[in-house]
């Protein structure tokens, strides 16, 4: 296993796995910005074996596994030769339409992995005419200050499962705060909730939306969401991933006109992580 040193090197490893691929399969979809961040921070490692390019990304005490393989049978063979699977806690995400994932799900289950969680993608599509009107801003909701970044990260880590929900690293939270992509709700002088998003042109990915449990009667969650939607007048498509194990959140998103799409993320874990 070698550290990945450049985007070019990663692309070449992917190319070798794709050469002559009959049924190319992968779960490796990083944006160039994310990939560069992982490489720059020494988080990404590459392991090419038996015709498969494996990538391992270091997280908080566990790894994310990505693969690029010519076909499922090649992947299945190569998986049995990856030593780290027997020693370290590892998760992997299989993303796609439910029916298209069936073969890979069966493959990983047969290889001894278990389904750790499932996430659904939800979308909210708006027309220019229906874009949210600005309205009167709630003064409790403001753009996050960079000084709040440690508290924001602490709240994310306390509120979400980092194995299933891709909690950002400190440098990513710092970059998001600097870009004005985190709104926070303040209550009684403290951080009570947040909404963390990534907007690119006509699309916006809502990454995290939460309010501290003891303050959930203060309508801070609604204030955050309304402010977010109103401040993105150019966005035509809002997206998010939500854990299937969190039906209360799904109901709240539906309240704001998000609806389930066909995409599912099966989060698998190896036997070093308990179900």
């Amino acid at each position: 296993m070698q550290p990945a040193l450049s985007i070019r090197e990663v692309g070449e490893a992917v190319s070798r796995a794709r050469t002559g691929a009959a049924e190319y399969c992968t779960n490796f979809f990083p944006s160039p910005q994310k990939l560069q961040g992982w490489i720059s921070h020494g988080e990404l490692f590459c392991d090419e074996r038996a015709g498969v390019a494996f990538f391992l990304r270091k997280d908080r005490g566990f790894w994310h596994l990505y693969f690029c393989a010519a076909d499922p049978a090649t992947l299945q063979r190569a998986l049995t030769t990856l030593p780290i699977l027997g020693t370290d806690p590892i998760v992997l995400d299989l993303v796609g339409k439910e029916a298209e994932l069936a073969r890979l799900i069966a493959l990983f289950e047969a290889a001894g992995w278990h389904i750790y969680n499932r996430l659904f993608r939800m979308a909210r599509t708006v027309t220019a005419a229906a874009a949210a009107a600005p309205g009167t801003p709630d003064s409790r909701v403001v753009v996050a200050d960079r000084a709040e970044v440690p508290a924001i990260l602490d709240l994310l880590l306390r509120s979400f499962d980092c194995r299933a929900e891709q909690i950002p690293m400190l440098y990513e939270v710092e970059a998001a705060a600097a870009a004005g992509q985190i709104w926070v709700a303040r209550y009684a002088g403290g951080l009570a909730g947040l909404l963390f998003f990534e907007t690119q042109g006509f699309s916006s990915l809502l990454r995290y939306w939460l309010v501290a449990p003891e303050l959930r009667t203060q309508r801070l969650g609604s204030a955050l969401m309304r402010r977010y939607l109103a401040e993105q007048p150019a966005v035509r498509r809002f997206l998010l991933w939500v854990a299937a194990s969190n039906p209360e959140a799904i109901v709240k998103y539906e309240h704001f006109d998000f609806a389930r799409e066909g995409l599912v993320d099966y989060v698998f874990a190896n036997d070093r992580i308990r179900p």
Partner: protein
């Protein structure tokens, strides 16, 4: 170009890909969509786009995608 626009539309039906000059900057395609697009192009045209070619510059608009396909001997109609 119509065939290409149709393939893109099948991935992201809510956008009109003929009106944008930069699908990525405009948020019409993300990295997951790019992989779906590569798979669709491979299947439609019977090619295998190299991993090193799967970079944003090749997927910015209809012209850049057509130029990429041309490298594989495909004239996108």
């Amino acid at each position: 170009m119509n065939a290409l626009a149709d393939i893109l539309k099948s991935i992201r039906p809510e956008f009109d890909f003929t009106t944008s000059n930069d699908f990525l900057a405009d948020g019409m395609l993300d990295s997951f969509d790019m992989i779906a697009l590569v798979a669709a192009l491979d299947k439609t045209y019977g090619i295998s786009i190299e991993g090193v070619e799967v970079v944003p510059d090749h997927f910015r608009n209809l012209s850049t995608i057509a130029a990429l396909l041309k490298k594989y001997g495909v004239a996108a109609a």
